[in-house]
Subunit: 330 residues, 2 copies
DNA sequence: ATGAAAGCGCTAACAC
DNA sequence: GTGTTAGCGCTTTCAT
């Protein structure tokens, strides 16, 4: 039925070992026998069995990726960065969506470890002790992507969320805004907490009183941002600027303003986050904090390959961010 | 170092086979010994090696997915449908992006076959003879997702592209439009060809002359749709309605119209395709042909599981489409 | 430069 | 209900 390395060896009149050598590109094979073997492989249509190879070599050339949701613009873009570099180093990637659910995250990681992946890329929200313990129990390298371990024990690649938020809010403050809304999500999460810190610090540094009514915690999607913003803008003390957790919400904020007859950026300025493609698919185009998603993915994967090969490397990488100014701010 | 099934057997005082039985949930194990084994597994922190299992059982519980680009909204959404059902049946998915490049497609499929995936989901453009031959050479089931084999030899799940285009154009014609632009891509591809056929047939059935200037072939992205539409709308004989290949282009068409002072839908009506989330993230919201991406993915994966288990099933599934009418049409 | 042989960790008959 | 044994298809010493 299936043709194995043994069949090739017999047809070529050599041993298993020799076939293995030419398949794996070993140098020490006489050109003439190499040719014989290649011919046999061709004739038989031999395809090496990666599972058998994996068992014997203890390497699967597969890496596992756990992320919240592959259908999200943000993670899909990031995944592409991962994939391209993985490909470059001849790794395949098994992608699994966790929906940020902790039990599912744990289960998915366990499953990937059973599959003997050579490394793991973890993109999630909170890193709990349970995560740390699980990661510790494995013998393969793991890198946290677009987030980090507050205890600085696990390798990671990310941007400085706090500084990024600080920069965005300062940008707004310098234009004279005093009532700046922060549309964010799940405040108990590490990520949102950092952004909030940056927001608060920026206000403080510019002597603006913090008003908790300006901070709203909602699901990070268009619809909730749309209705929330609509309500806020109808208030007596409406915000004059809005800083959102992502671009989808930023677009919603623009639309909310426009729907009730306000002008962006004259009546209200808006800054999004991430610089996903969609930030240019709205009028006025959305000013946003650039988080280099593709690069974060790519750098993470590159770091992982180094870790797998025990190469020297920094294990906490912070990529630069910046503000891309478009028309939703003056 | 790594704990194997053998270690568990020794600690529990049973044989390999018994451990294997409890791990795989076989019925014929005495409750008391099952408990002993479970305890040993717990104590040792045993994790079954899926690679070894795969080699012995000739099943990897992994399926391969080849798609054009995981960072695209359309394929990411579809991938999520695939993943959810895969998960339900305890399969993992290896995702690889082909960029619609034929050589890369072939290479990726070969690679996945080497990895001994239990089945393959292929989302691509053209199915060439080379594809057919490659698919035929494999012993695992393959299903074409969101496209089909003109020769009807390969299982597939999709919508009726031609009819969908026909419906959209007819919808426009019935409102009195005579100059309907078709913004499409790579006309030589099977997919675009079907859409064009539907477009032409709809015009013909309503006695409207076909004008080749109304059909433009461009990269299916925002920027090219934006500039192309801008140019078209400035023409003397500008179209009064636009039907685009996807929603991204539909949004671009709306913006192009607005940028030159035209009103949507009063001056020009626009219909997109796919009903991705973004079709609601624009003002006016985009009328679009609904292609149920998530469902296509889910149904494909379900079909694949049936094929893997040799169950009876239809092998060509056509899912329903419809037009979601929003504000970009009157 | 090439071959022989011992695993890699597990499943799946087949026996008891 | 449980144990024995023979592979699954390959890599990798160690000889030669």
């Amino acid at each position: 039925m299936t043709v194995t390395i043994y069949d090739v060896a017999r047809l070529a009149g050599v041993s298993l070992a020799t076939v293995s050598r030419v398949v794996n590109g070993s140098t020490s094979v006489k050109p003439s026998t190499r040719r014989k073997v290649l011919k046999a492989i061709e004739d038989l249509g031999y395809r090496p069995n990666a599972v058998a190879r994996g068992l014997a070599s203890k390497k699967t050339t597969t890496i596992g990726v756990v992320l919240p949701d592959i259908s999200s613009l943000f993670f899909a873009e990031l995944a592409r960065g991962i994939e391209d570099i993985a490909n470059m180093y001849h790794y395949d990637i098994i992608i699994s969506s966790s929906d940020q659910n902790r039990d599912k995250e744990i289960q998915l990681v366990n499953n990937l470890l059973e599959k003997q992946v050579d490394g793991l890329l973890f993109l999630g929200g909170q890193i709990t002790d349970e995560h740390r313990q699980l990661f510790g129990s494995s013998s393969i390298p793991i890198v946290l992507v677009s987030s980090n371990d507050p205890q600085h024990k696990i390798p990671s690649v990310r941007i400085d969320q706090e500084q990024a938020a600080y920069d965005a809010v300062s940008f707004l403050v310098k234009k004279g805004h005093k009532r700046i809304a922060l549309l964010t999500t799940k405040l108990h999460s590490h990520f949102s907490q950092l952004r909030l810190n940056g927001y608060i610090q920026a206000l403080k540094d510019h002597d603006i009183a913090f008003d908790e009514d300006m901070v709203v915690e909602i699901p990070p999607v268009y619809q909730s941002a749309l209705s929330t913003t609509t309500n806020m803008l109808k208030l007596m003390d409406a915000p004059t600027a809005i800083f959102t957790y992502n671009d989808e919400m930023g677009i919603a904020a623009i639309h909310a303003a426009q729907d009730i007859g306000k002008h962006v950026p004259d009546d209200v300025e808006v800054i999004g986050f991430n610089n996903t493609r969609i930030s240019q698919w709205v009028r006025p185009m959305l000013t946003t904090v650039v988080q280099p998603m593709y690069d974060i993915g790519a750098v993470s994967m590159r770091l992982l390959t180094k870790l797998i090969n025990n190469e020297e490397t920094h294990t906490e990488i912070v990529l630069p961010h910046r503000i891309e100014v478009r028309q939703s701010t003056k």
